[in-house]
Amino acid sequence: MIYYISPTGDNADDGSEANPWETMAYAYNNSTTGDTIHCLAGTYTMVNQTFGTERTVTGADAKTTIFNGGGGAVTWRTSPVMTISNIHFTNHAQASVIYSVSASIVSLSNCIFSDFISSGFQKPVIRMASGSTYTIISCLFYDCITTYANPIFGHSALIQGLSSTVTCTITNTTFYIVYNPATPNYAIPFGGASVATTFIVKNNIFMNAGSTSIFLTNYNTISDDSSNNCLYGYSNYPTRDGTVAEDPKMIDPANANFNLASDSPCIDTGILI
């Protein structure tokens, strides 16, 4: 079944596209395993939600379906199997936006994560429990900052795995940060916590627009399957095929335009997936 919610909906309605419900909590509680919750375009006030059983949550597209955390510690705890797509998560602090508490199979596609800040231990944007498998494809992370004092072990990562049994595949995703050594803000794109997590990375842009280079990642295994990533302003990436080690030439990333300019070295230099 597909149920619909809208910021202008009403939980007294029937959850149809024409008469959508209003809140994610109501939609979750009135749907069942395997159902889809479609979030119609609009800006939602995001609140804590635990998805105990499998759900697919999708938006209209990431430009128009926005979940605003209100600058607070607001988290979606995933179900064992969960698919999330076409949603912009923004304005979060001090807690992971997506958090799998136990082993989960999670797919994230066409999502944007922006305006995130955390200073605590193991507070990444996405936190993957032991035994989890994550697939992240065509997503964007920008204006995300982690300031935890010890950047090793992925504690200052945006995507963090909690054990060696985590596998995370990141494809065609753009990371844009501005590292400031004076603050410092790290926002390491991905890492493992204390033990190596396996990451398979293909066709991604990792861009640090700060003046000082920073480690791309810490304490993890970058799979041999990884290739064709653009790295700019980062170091310690092991040799992989197709690496583009120069400015990806996005049109205006400082003003949230991450499209590639016509002379970008990233055009047509990815690998088929």
Partner: protein
């Protein structure tokens, strides 16, 4: 009066449960079989062969699937002399050579082939023909080793990016979350 000599028995006494008598012309007597060769199973009421080397084909070897009549090699039971029908073959591998007869299949140096119309034809894999979300028919290809279906006609993938553009366009992809719209190069004006 002379004593009458005892008449030697014409049937030897058995020693083991299940022995079956047979006539031994050399001895001139009915003799019990060795139970290691052939015996009567009085529990299941049938003649049994113990663990010996069987060198002949036994018809009707399974008494639970007995055919009516004398002939016990019904083709549909799967053990006809020229073909097998309605049977599941498990853990079977196609070899590298095959007879050149219509319908034969083979693995020729990693390429599956089928013999049709008098020649070996390659069996093309990782293609599908389907109706897309818009109701149009399209032929799609998933290159070996990859996960994304690509429409053959356009070279575009089903998977879209944050711009709503196919992540793969004309069998090429760019790095990052935002693909680039195709540019039409019309050449140089004269």
């Amino acid at each position: 009066m002379l004593p009458i000599p005892p008449i030697p028995p014409r049937i030897l006494k058995g020693t083991t449960q299940g022995q079956i008598p047979f006539y031994d012309a050399t001895l001139g007597k009915w003799t019990p079989t060795e139970t290691s060769e052939l015996f009567w199973d009085d529990v299941n009421k049938r003649v049994k062969l113990p663990s010996i080397l069987v060198t002949e084909t036994f018809k009707n070897y399974n008494p639970d699937l007995t055919d009516i009549g004398m002939e016990q090699e019904s083709d549909l039971r799967g053990y006809g002399s020229d073909y097998i029908s309605k049977k599941l073959l498990s853990r079977v591998q196609i070899g590298t050579v095959a007879d050149e007869v219509e319908g034969a299949v083979r693995n020729n140096a990693g390429t599956f082939q089928i013999y049709l119309n008098g020649i070996w034809n390659d069996i093309v894999i990782n293609f599908r023909f389907r109706e897309d979300d818009g109701g149009a028919y399209e032929l799609e290809h998933k290159p070996i080793g990859f996960d994304t279906w690509i429409e053959v006609n356009s070279g575009n993938s089903n998977v879209l990016d944050l711009n709503g553009l196919p992540i793969i366009q004309q069998y090429q992809t760019s790095i990052g979350a935002y693909q680039v719209s195709l540019q039409i190069d019309g050449g140089t004006f004269n």
